[in-house]
Every structure is written in structure tokens, then in C-alpha cells.
């Protein structure tokens, strides 16, 4: 227990002093604030470029547009920044050899892996939840009458995808020594997932559903029971990534 809390403290200091917290928090909040803003402003901006009759044909923005912007921003830029921030959390230390002394003094490798991955998941969760609250507050403020459906499910799916990305990152960190190796590994996994989602039979189990169907969920087209299969496969993959990372890291030279 002592080991774990010391490791958490170290991760936190590293996260704070290397400006990672600053970057992650400001980018996420900027994305969160700009989601309702672009939703509200988009027809005006387009109206300046397009002929008037085309511009008038755009529907007035709704609460759905605001959430749509949020999901678009977070599933693309948000996750990309998350990968940039945590893509080198372990491989960086292996490159610089900063783990050699603690590991030879008896620090367990399993706890290194678990703490690093848990830390990235906690950071993702905290900042993500705060961003969701920001979007929620502004959406209520600008569109008080409109009610989106199944908001929690929709937001939960994107959160789960972030957790999955975090566990892919920790596995990539064990497999590769460089940041770009991890980055390519994560991109490769994403491409494989896209290919899987092309097959009709596997479509229901594809994780891409977690980030592509959020808007449909808001419109009430899917409910919790539609996602049972995906939730189970995602959880299995998250656990498998961790087990594999622990086993491989225990065998690897530092």
C-alpha cells in the first residue's frame, strides 16, 4: 500500500510539473466551452459566406447541436491530446532509466503498471466529468426548453472509450520504447477497430460504436440494452490489455 501511494504521489508531481495537467485541463475546457458556442454561432458564420436564401434554410441550433459538437470535439481532438499527454508515461522513464534504481530496490513492476494506468484513467475521468458539466450547464442556459434523452448513456460511452484508449496506451508503452511506437500502436488498434466495424456480423460488438453513436443515443434510438455486448467486450479488452502489459513488463529488461 505504501508503494502504491508513493507511486501515485510521484505520478502527480510529474504530471503537474511537466505542465501536463495544465495542457490537458485547458484543452478539455476550451473544447467544452467552444462546443455550445460553435453550435450557437455556426448558422451565423455560414450565413456570412453563403447566399442569403441558403443561409436561411439552416435549422436554428438546438441542444442536440451543442452535444453533437461536444462529442465531435472530444472523440477527435480530446482523445488525441489525451494520447499525446499519456503516450510516453512509461516509455519516457525507460528511456531515461529513472525506474532502474527503484525497481532494483524492490519496487514491484506490477504496481508500476497499475498505478500508471490508473492515474491516467483518474485524470481522464475527472477532467472529462468537469467538461461534461460545463457543456451541460451552458446547454441548459442557452436552450432551456429542450431535453435530450439518455444523456448519461451517451456520455458514458465516450468515457468508456477513453478508458479503453488508456489501457491500449499502457500496453503500447510496455511494447515500445519510443513515444512514436506507442502512437503508431494506438493508431493501428484504431484502424483494426474500424475494419472490424465494417463486417456486418461483428458490427454490434465493435468499439467504434462507443464514439460514433452518441448523437443517435441522444435522439433515443438506442438504449442501455443495445450496448450489453459492446460493454462486455470492451471490459474484457481493457482487462486483457492490463494483464498482457503486466506479464510482458515483468519479463522485459528495463
Amino acid at each position: 500500500m505504501n508503494q502504491v501511494s508513493a507511486l501515485f504521489k510521484k505520478e502527480w508531481i510529474d504530471f503537474f510539473r511537466n505542465y501536463r495537467l495544465l495542457i490537458l485541463a485547458t484543452v478539455f475546457f476550451i473544447l467544452a466551452f467552444s462546443s455550445p458556442l460553435t453550435a450557437k454561432f455556426m448558422p451565423e458564420i455560414l450565413g456570412n459566406f453563403l447566399p442569403k436564401d441558403v443561409a436561411d434554410s439552416f435549422p436554428t441550433p438546438t441542444a442536440f447541436d451543442s452535444w453533437q459538437q461536444f462529442f465531435k470535439n472530444f472523440s477527435q481532438i480530446g482523445l488525441f491530446v489525451f494520447v499525446l499527454i499519456f503516450g510516453a508515461s512509461l516509455s519516457n522513464e525507460r528511456q531515461h532509466g529513472t525506474l532502474v534504481i527503484p525497481l532494483t530496490k524492490g519496487l514491484s513492476r506490477t504496481s508500476v503498471i497499475l498505478v500508471k494506468s490508473l492515474f491516467s484513467m483518474i485524470m481522464w475521468t475527472v477532467i472529462y466529468v468537469l467538461s461534461v458539466l460545463v457543456v451541460y450547464a451552458y446547454t441548459i442556459y442557452y436552450w432551456p426548453k429542450e431535453d435530450v434523452q439518455h444523456l448519461f448513456l451517451s456520455v458514458f460511452l465516450l468515457w468508456l472509450f477513453g478508458i479503453f484508449v488508456a489501457s491500449v496506451l499502457i500496453l503500447g508503452n510496455v511494447l515500445f520504447r519510443s513515444f512514436f511506437g506507442t502512437l503508431l500502436f494506438a493508431v493501428g488498434i484504431l484502424i483494426v477497430l474500424f475494419i472490424i466495424s465494417l463486417f456486418e456480423k461483428l458490427k454490434d460488438l465493435s468499439f467504434i460504436r462507443l464514439i460514433s453513436e452518441n448523437n443517435l443515443v441522444l435522439h433515443g434510438e438506442y438504449v442501455w440494452s443495445d450496448y450489453t455486448g459492446v460493454l462486455i467486450t470492451t471490459t474484457i479488452c481493457i482487462i486483457a490489455c492490463h494483464l498482457l502489459a503486466i506479464v510482458l513488463f515483468n519479463r522485459k529488461g528495463i
Partner: protein
């Protein structure tokens, strides 16, 4: 004008966030003379004039490796 006023509650936090990032990066550029590439003037311009992306690129890629004084 009315529209701007309507959007103020969302614009103000957005501008504050952007400038916090820019100013923290600017202070860091000025106080630490070593960069992985480029020179001080280049980084000051990048950090100040490319909003959001400039400071992020600086902290992730441009900042010197040896960073003794926090």
C-alpha cells in the same frame, strides 16, 4: 451587439483559458533558455500568436530536456 452580450458568459472563460495557456508558456520560454530546437524569439512568437496549439507544441516538443529550475 445583443448577440455578443448573449455570448459573453461563454466567451469570457474561453478567452481567459487561452491566455492562461499563452502566458504560462511565455513565462516558461523567457525563463528557460534551452530549447530542443528553434530560438527564443521564434518560440515567443509561436506561443503568443498561435492560440492554443502554440503553447501545447512548446510544452510537449519545444521545451528543453534539462529542466533543473522549476
Amino acid at each position: 451587439m445583443d448577440q455578443v452580450r448573449e455570448l459573453l458568459p461563454i466567451l469570457i472563460p474561453l478567452i481567459i483559458l487561452e491566455w492562461t495557456l499563452a502566458i504560462v508558456a511565455l513565462v516558461h520560454v523567457i525563463r528557460h533558455p534551452h530549447y530542443r530546437f528553434g530560438n527564443r524569439i521564434m518560440w515567443i512568437l509561436i506561443v503568443l500568436f498561435i492560440q492554443i496549439i502554440g503553447p501545447i507544441v512548446y510544452f510537449l516538443f519545444g521545451r528543453g530536456e534539462r529542466d533543473d529550475s522549476y
